[in-house]
């Protein structure tokens, strides 16, 4: 004889456990200590955020031409930025030639679009073109001097344009050097190994600022008299040398993470050293360390601000210069907040991109 149990309808969860009240109880007021911390946090937010938003948006001056338009109320005066936007973007680059850096930037963006098209087959070739050929095209376009383009000397480059040039060249140059150094550090030949270790530890041990000082004071001493280095080139050499050492350590981490069986399998297939590295080891190793590589890029991007110390006018230096304009004194808050916002957008975007890329390239087993 069997008893049929009929399941009664589920009772709804108690009101205190669902909805906003439940969420708040669980996440904000789960204990007395937690409740106290939540209240302090709420107080902090109420004290800080509304005045900040008011300063940056509601009370801010958005339109106008001169300083006189600014002194109305306590808010930020973005007219100061708008007034200087040309310099902030291009430095002292002649205004009638702005189309040249613009074209370079647009060209680069146009060239990267195919990477997002899945069916595009020649991604490797396109990547090689961007990394190897495009820098020369960009140089000819921005610097001029051939194809009938007027020469714009590097002393006139500045602003966000210079920041982007410094970081782009630094990134493009330091990655291959870093890979070579990392391979050298893992080499079985003692001379290569020790030279690479010395190089890496030397550059990692000193601050970038001393490197830039050295590049600007000592580099001219190292080369025969008369060989004149452009100031920008000196900064680029310094940044690349410095950053490639960091890149090498990141790549080494990836190389060490590849199981020995991969190296042995590559050898067993009869691949020589360049082929086994290029086809088997490096693709896996680099994929592993993409977050590290992007972090190095972000560090490099932030570090480019240091060139203002040797007298180049990058974004931050241009803002500093604008702040000393006697017509526009006292706009430090606006200037630095704007610069911080620009840098933050780039760095944050890069870090998010690296997270997305990591997830996309993760082909193994995910826990």
């Amino acid at each position: 004889m069997s008893v049929n149990h009929v399941k009664g309808p589920d009772l709804p969860p108690p009101n205190s456990e669902v909805g906003i009240a439940g969420w708040m109880k669980k996440n904000l007021f789960s204990s007395y200590a937690n409740g106290f911390m939540s209240l302090v946090a709420i107080l902090l937010i109420v004290l800080l955020v509304p005045p900040l938003i008011d300063w940056a948006f509601w009370s801010a001056t958005w339109t106008g031409e001169t300083r006189a338009d600014c002194d109305q109320d306590g808010g930020a005066c973005w007219v100061f930025i708008a007034n200087r936007i040309d310099q902030i973007m291009y430095g002292f680059y002649p205004a009638e030639l702005h189309w040249r850096p613009n074209l370079t930037g647009l060209g680069l963006i146009a060239l990267t679009i195919p990477f997002f098209i899945k069916s595009f087959k020649y991604k490797n070739w396109l990547g090689a073109f961007i990394l190897i050929v495009y820098p020369f095209i960009a140089y000819v376009l921005i610097h001029g001097g051939s194809f009938g383009l007027e020469v714009v000397s590097t002393t006139k480059w500045g602003g966000l344009m210079l920041t982007l040039i410094l970081s782009a060249v630094g990134i493009v140059a330091s990655l291959p050097i870093g890979i070579l150094l990392a391979l050298g550090r893992r080499s079985k030949m003692p001379m290569f190994k020790s030279v690479c270790i010395m190089y890496i530890e030397f550059w990692r041990g000193i601050p970038l600022i001393t490197v830039l000082f050295m590049a600007s004071v000592m580099l001219p001493l190292f080369f025969p008299e008369g060989s004149d280095f452009d100031k920008l080139l000196r900064a680029l050499i310094g940044i690349t040398m410095f950053q490639s050492a960091y890149m090498a350590e990141v790549v080494r981490g990836g190389l060490q993470a590849i199981p020995k069986g991969q190296y042995e399998a590559a050898e067993a297939l009869g691949l020589n050293y360049p082929k086994s590295m290029g086809l088997i080891i490096l693709p896996q190793a680099l994929k592993l360390v993409i977050p590290g590589i992007v972090n190095t890029f972000i560090a490099l991007f932030k570090d480019t601000t240091l060139v203002l110390i040797i007298g180049l006018f990058d974004l931050l230096a241009i803002i500093n210069l604008a702040l000393t304009d006697s017509d526009w004194l006292g706009f430090d808050d606006e200037g630095y907040v704007f610069a911080a916002f620009v840098f933050w957008v780039f760095c944050f975007a890069m870090s998010r991109y690296s997270i997305a890329l990591e997830a996309k390239l993760h082909t193994g087993h995910k826990r």
Binding site: A41, I45, M191, V195, P207, I209, L221, L308, D332, C347
Partner: protein
């Protein structure tokens, strides 16, 4: 048939395919190239210096410097030597590094733990802090604190009094300074005795726990020995300590401890910037401890407080310490950005002013780099030693 025969005999590869000779060839080429490069650099440098009339050597270190320095931890005036500017810079760099490391560790650990908090609001606030300050260049942050915030402070005449004799104005932060009187040495001796007693007590407590399993309240006793005991002796010996308050004399405050705004801006920016990185390190370290460890210790009946202290933190520290040391090194190297706002650190004083006055580029650059290199190599070898000591001993 012939194929088989050749396969049975191990063949000697041609010379250019023999890995041994290849390695020899490549390394010789590397050495020759390197030696030639160094030779040409040294040669060029010498001839360039001769052409410019720069003499070499370290004789300039004993010459009179003839410039003043904003802040110095040791006696320094315009009659002091260039060698002394090196010391002043070195100690100022050390001061910033020590202050920055201490404060950034506090902030970083707090924020790292807060980001993992079960309290939604606290976790989000910590995330916002980390994501904002990690992604803004340090130099920009230094400028912001120095030019936008600290430059907006009132003049010494309208100085803000923060209570307890603390004055805050555009010239800096003025704190009351202690002046030890005769008899203060007894307190110092008491502190040393307390320190030694603490070392013995810790050893004994460890041994007792190993033998009997009983725990000893090590933390409280340490606190008592290091602070309580010297303080008690200090009270007993009649409080031999005067306090000097900063007083407004003329245009500025004098007396007490003065922290110049350059130092404040630098320490503030370094703390906030590095704190964000340390917070991420701490978070990663805590997340790296497997959740099974928590469950296992709860199953053993450990309390929540014991769980953190005895199980999670010791294991998390193993993951945290290596990146933490490199953050400390970064902070120390980043303190050289002081030169951008004129704080007299090693790079600003020695590689800046002294180099400009003497023109001894090679010697000065070499000395400055040697300082940073020594510090970083020393710390990284210490870290390797620690890593070996703490590494998991696997069967």
């Amino acid at each position: 048939m012939s194929e088989l025969e050749t396969a049975q005999k191990p063949s000697n590869p041609a010379v250019w395919n023999d890995p041994k000779y290849r390695a020899l060839f490549f390394q010789t080429a590397l050495i020759v190239g390197l030696v030639y490069f160094l030779y040409s650099v040294v040669n060029n440098t010498l001839s360039n210096m001769e052409a410019r009339g720069i003499s070499t050597g370290f004789a300039f270190l004993t010459e009179k410097a003839g410039f003043g320095i904003l802040q110095s931890l040791i006696q320094f005036n315009e009659d002091s030597s260039y060698g002394r500017t090196f010391l002043v810079g070195l100690m100022n760099t050390g001061l910033v590094a020590v202050l920055g490391i201490f404060l950034a560790t506090l902030l970083g650990f707090g924020m790292g733990v807060a980001r993992l908090s079960s309290n939604w609001l606290i976790a989000k606030l910590a995330t916002v802090y980390i994501e904002i300050f990690r992604n803004i260049p340090l130099l920009l942050q230094i400028f912001f604190w120095y030019f936008a915030v600290l430059a907006g402070l009132p003049s010494p005449r309208n100085s803000m009094s923060l209570g307890a004799g603390i004055e805050f104005n555009i010239r800096g932060l003025y704190l009351p300074g202690p002046i030890p009187e005769s008899g203060f040495s007894i307190t110092v001796i008491a502190f040393i005795i307390g320190f030694i007693a603490m070392l013995f007590m810790r050893r004994w407590a460890h041994k007792r726990q190993d033998e009997t399993g009983q725990q000893f309240p090590v933390g409280w006793v340490t606190l008592g020995l290091l602070i309580g005991f010297p303080f008690f002796v200090f009270l007993l010996s009649g409080m031999p300590m005067g306090i000097e308050y900063p007083v407004l004399t003329g245009f500025n405050f004098s007396g007490g401890i003065a922290l110049v705004p350059e130092l404040l801006a630098l320490v503030l920016a370094l703390t906030i910037y590095t704190g964000a990185f340390i917070a991420e390190t701490v978070r990663a370290g805590i997340l790296a401890v497997d959740h099974g460890q928590t469950e296992a210790s709860l199953a053993l009946g450990l309390k929540r407080s014991q769980l953190m202290k005895l199980v999670i933190i010791p294991q998390a520290m193993r993951v945290i310490i290596p990146p933490l040391t490199s953050q400390y090194l970064n902070l120390t190297k980043n303190s050289s950005l002081a030169t951008a706002i004129g704080y007299p650190d090693l790079v600003n004083v020695f590689m800046g002013t002294t180099l400009n006055q003497t023109g001894q580029a090679i010697e000065i650059t070499a000395m400055t780099m040697a300082v940073y290199l020594t510090a970083s190599l020393l710390i990284s070898s210490l870290m390797n030693w620690y890593n070996k000591k703490m590494a998991l001993v696997e069967r």
